[in-house]
Assembly symmetry: D3
Homo-oligomer: 331 residues x 6
């Protein structure tokens, strides 16, 4: 029986300059449709889970293209709603060597931001679900999105669906009159797993700590249901080369993953979402330390693939965890 | 001495699917930067005029790319203003055969729409100018844009700069609480030349006429300074094949151009702007009937070129008017 | 309630040279996944039906890519089986002007050809279904494929599911020791609708007639359940220009559609399947003459779209039937 | 036994803008290596003849690429010489509709122009040869090229090798101090077949005639060995559509070919060379009227293929002559 | 005088996803034609040898394209045979970083597998030849291929042509009822040079040794004519970075090459064939230790070039051996 | 007030093979327009200076395209002259790993080489200018170019405009009968800043020194106006990886910049020009050591950008100097 996981969040049209071209000179943009939460759903669906993504699209061909792309990955799109409005867009310029990568967002006032929370029947959406995943981006978009997120979290909590949250504080959102501390603590409270760095703890949970273990302990105090807290450590040597590892707090200790040197990064966007998906998949199917290793390995492989979606198989992730066939030519 | 022509209007990022690809399946978009008035400026600059375009861009790399593209064409960009905000975008899908071409607009709430009319010093902008061109799109965007257009028209009128207006009624704009009849008549009044079809006459000038000559006469009554009225006749056989001709009312009669069969259309967007540019150039350099033929020939050639901008030389237009080298291989 | 239609047939990897490039010089191939019956399912799914396609794929990444592509279109892929073996491939070279288009097939001994008919539970597949569609290609591939087709037709017949068959005689298949007259008559017998030209009648039903109406009458004698027979008339002026119309026999008379001149063909492969899908959709939702017009219009629009799949909306087909917006620029 | 045909002439690097892009905006050029005479050799080699091309290349990687490209087509490149110098280049912009195609030549002072006639041993080159083909371009390039051409013509004449010449007067060559009338008459004299239009007759043979039959008669007077004179009639409706037919004077009368309407031209460069190759092949293998039809059909098919080289098979040409499979989909 | 080398083996159509794209998402495949032995011939021809490749192709345009591609490289294709059947295909997905590269083979039942050994006249093929090269892939394909290989080896042996064999054991071939130990020992026996790793020794020569020098000694016992045994050591740090060196046993000792760090691999397929070609070229033109260095340097350069064929000049290989101009910008 | 800098030099059409393709196999070339001095102007214009480039172009579409490209970057093109002739071309093949990059020049006898020095009014060109930049390439091209360079240097000197010269000795130019020591010393004499390595000192200034500080002292003796001498140190590990640093002699000591490891070079052409531009910008706006760091950082960033032109902002250079945001993802 496939595990059902529900994800919630906006999907944007991602437009990337080809190769290493800069915005100023680009003659074309490559198309992807991505969002932090939908990227998680895509991984999980590709790995054989029943992943259902909840979102809102404008009712035109580009919205429809985004839905088709989710279908391509095997994501359940049956809970998606449509309404008038625009589609959020973000423009990406891939860095190289010392030159940084850049994103220009054009996402305000989207169909998603203007959603109607009453259009969603969470009891129906969560039928048979084991897990619900959301991120700190959604409540940062608009009051309506924050309300929807709250309704989802409450329903999941009520129905015994495990909740994960990628806190993911975004400074340039939160423009509708509320700040993260007005909204996030209540949303985070019933979580089973959160992804958070020290900045996220401070901005979204009012936990000012320089020691990660201490921060975890304080978070547990505020959210008694918390079983796991995790984050990745990224060492940015250049736009082309990063180190990556992950840590997982299990209520007692900080588990540490292997560290990977990613020397020829193809596309780092979605790397964090691949980690998130790996952690959910791992915790649902494996013991906790292996789950952490699975998450990091999934994230590493994502960096070798163009686009937001992490089209790597469960087997490929397992093999990287086990150090098999790394970089070989498989016939 | 180069003739100075000033144009005013928003420029958007145009994203077109390649070849005959549909929105649903496209993996990339081709980039152009275009706007009805800027397309006119581009033609005129490419033909050796001093064409200055007035607009507002967001202050980021994509706005800067649009300015660079105008520079590429030789347009004077020194009056352009920058401010916070987004860039209007429109998505284009090229039709073929019986299948129509489609545009999805995403242009609301742009930096241009939120412009500050006081940022523009029209006395300085019009220094040395002979002609000012605007279209009905600008006052349809926002109150601020309408105010800027009004300031420009008043200054041009006061300074003796000839004014042309492409009435160009756009049903899906005009969403800021005013209708075209609230705004347009006063703006059109001091024009020297207008482009208008019967629908435009009705919607923007309250002239309901089924006979074009009659409509022209009524327009002249309302706008005593009017010397010329013009429009094109497009016969859409298919997305790939159109007939095109133009007519020019000179206060006395309707001059009729040759009619062209465009059998293998490459890109029809900007065809009307090429006509407008041709008419301005023609009336500044040629007698009126030749000006009309020049305008239609310029527009025909535009249909053979990818993108909004009409990169054809004055010589190429003259040769088509004269029926020379049509479709030959020139060594 | 969505109408459920089941289709059965092999899907191949289609590799097309780009633009007008010839096989000899091509540096790349464009990828599509297509099959006559799956193309029908794709149209119907895109038009909002519940279209389920039954087939067999090799269990590797390219087989999986084909499934994902069906998912993209919204086709129900839950009945698809996997097994060892290769994927059929066909190479396409687009003609131009007087130069013909060419297909090189490489489809023998595929996973589909080696399918196991017992892997399919037709009672379950046809649950809730109103229509079953198959073509003469399937029984021509292998004995196993013919057996599967027979099992499907018998189940559909038994369960009261309407059956359509595109007879589609393919000379270079039928290499497993049986000829069409050994197999096809029994399969065709319980059909509600067939697509057949005079050659198909002769080769697959042993009806030698030069008059189409007579042929239809004879087919009805052999297959009393037949309600409709249809075919298209294609006038090949060149690879770039064809005329197209359709006829539909309704038991009494031959209905004749409008005739279309397709002057700038983009991709003609899948044109017949688009017609078939249009006819099924039309007969399920419209009266019979309109159904015929819908089928032809759908087929015409297909010729303007790259790839096998007919990504045009129901609205676009209706508009072409009604002569609206033909080849216009829709803003 | 394969027929051996020898061709002589410069090969240039052809750089074409992609699609319908103009020089001003192109971001890339597509690569071909072509020359009027080498294009003839390529056709003949592809049709199974032993075609040997004689030329000079600069001794660098781009010269070597041109040789490899001839090898690709099966042309015998064993007589090619190398020396210091540059490679001639020409830039091509494809027209569309009424817009003409354009060539910018950059061919002066090439390695070929500076060749040493003594490097070539014509007795060895013509071993086993039945036919020698040259064009009016070669003697127009430089004194050295004219000298080489003369040496070749004399040797062919002496050795009983049939000679064809495409007179092909090029106004913008002939810049080394000689005019065509200084050089061409002597070179043309021993020809078996020439391609010439009225302008060529006048400029290269001093025959001023408005009637083609009269011109042929006068040419025969000057060149008693002449058996055939031919030319094509091209009707340029637009850059996208041309009519094409050919005529062949056989010493008695003007044979007239069928006329073809080429409605969707892909690439017209090399069309004349394809005709020339067709005529040589035809006269070597068929009776004279069929040879003419073969030549025109070969030329028509060339217009459907990107690049200079006419990669169509003998069978495809025969089928077009016979009106079979025109524009069909061949499975 | 050019050295004549004969190679024998199947050539497949290689279809590679562009850039780092995965099979699941690729929209196109890049075309190469390659085979282990033909890749050797291509290198040798490009280096100025007379390299003749013996193989069988299907008699259609794609088979012809493969021949043209060999011609492009200057390979002698005059001994190639054609017959009915399909062309073997293999699909390649380039890895990156930790993600492995993948090949999906679709090569069974090809025209080559079904060849007729009697179609080849080895006495004629070996006229003037100094060297014959084959690999363990050929006898693994089918009985007919094994028979042809045997006929070739016997003829070479009889005619005093030196023989090299790349043992190259492929687990997923050998499906026609014979195992490598049934066939290979006899074929290997008369070799002058073999490429073999420890696994190849065990599977194809029944030599189970963990020490390479010991294995070489045992191979010499079984094959008294053996003068050289060689292999490469590849250190796969990732798909993007490998170390490479080679060793050569000369009957007395193991010569060791320099070791190279290949940090930005472009395409590793054909790397082993480039080594093989380098070794043959080196042993024919240089002393044995330099030959080994030449082979490794040729292989390293191959990794910097897209496609199977190693288009690097003899000079470039020499310079890398000598450490000159490594990675410079040569003007 | 923008600083005005004047640059002088030839611009060529740069044609680069895509990706890592070799000349032999390339099917297309990517287009750039570049020249050492124009690349400096492009950087300075992009950084907000008034940079005017002086050159000569052929009066055709490709010359015009080069001008438009300068306009794109914001370079002042009003002093450019046009005349008959060809455009210099250079072909670029990007290396990878141990394989070197290659340039094939085809630049002789260009319109620039044949310029008329009298067409340029240096008094007008230098109006308001603070700086003039030239390189050793210009006087190496032709006597006319050397004369123009001399006129420019004299005028700059007379008008108090600071002069910088990139000595840049090019062995394969200097073919018009003069050697560098005949011309360069006089031109270099009035410089404020020169870029020179030890080879340049020897070939162009007759200073034979193995110690850079000594060489600088001798240069100062010969050119009393010299304030700065600079050069870069490039450590070519491979075509894909270089180390880079710079040194600046300020009359007293050698300042040394940070050293950068460029591990994934995208395009190294223009790297030296970016350094030059950085040094000019730095010396005009910053203190001397920071100017040196600015120059090196600008050059490093150039290596991450395709094409000759260094489209990085002043802010991006400052951030690299300060070690901020190196290789990050900026949202």
């Amino acid at each position: 029986m496939k595990k059902k996981i529900v994800t919630l969040g906006e999907i944007m049209l991602r437009l990337s300059t080809p190769g290493n071209e800069r915005f100023i000179k680009t003659q074309s943009y490559e198309v992807n449709y991505g969002g932090a939460e939908a990227n998680v759903a895509t991984s999980l669906a590709y790995w054989g889970c029943h992943a259902a993504h909840v979102t809102v699209f404008p009712d035109h061909e580009i919205g429809r293209a985004a839905v088709s792309t989710l279908n391509f990955a095997g994501v359940d799109t049956s809970y998606i709603q449509y309404q008038e409005g625009r589609m959020g867009v973000y423009f990406v310029e891939n860095g190289a060597m010392q030159r940084a990568s850049k994103i220009i967002y054009d996402r305000f006032d989207s169909a998603f931001a203007n959603l109607n929370p009453d259009d969603f029947n969470w009891d129906k959406i969560f039928e048979g679900a084991e897990w619900f995943h959301w991120t700190g981006i959604t409540p940062a978009i608009s009051q309506a999105a924050a309300d929807l997120c709250k309704a989802a979290v409450e329903a999941a909590s009520r129905l015994g669906v495990k909740i994960s949250a990628d806190i993911n504080y975004r400074r340039n959102l939160w423009q509708y009159g509320k700040g993260p501390l007005d909204i996030m603590p209540e949303l985070i409270a019933p979580s089973h797993l959160i992804i958070a760095g020290l900045t996220d703890f401070e901005n979204c949970m009012d936990i000012k700590e320089s020691d990660y273990l201490q921060a975890c302990a304080k978070a547990k105090e505020k959210c008694p249901s918390l079983k796991y807290i995790s984050t990745t450590n990224r060492n940015s040597i250049s736009a082309s080369e990063n180190g990556l590892s992950g840590i997982l707090w299990n209520g007692k200790e900080l588990l540490q993953s292997k560290s990977y040197d990613m020397t020829h990064i193809v596309d780092r966007i979605g790397g964090g979402d691949a980690y998130m998906a790996g952690l959910i998949y791992g915790l649902l199917h494996e013991e906790e330390h292996y789950a952490l290793e699975f998450a990091v390995a999934a994230s590493v492989l994502k960096h070798s693939i163009p686009g937001d979606a992490n089209y790597v198989s469960v087997d490929e992730v397992h093999q990287l965890v086990e150090g098999k066939n790394v970089g070989k030519l498989l016939r």
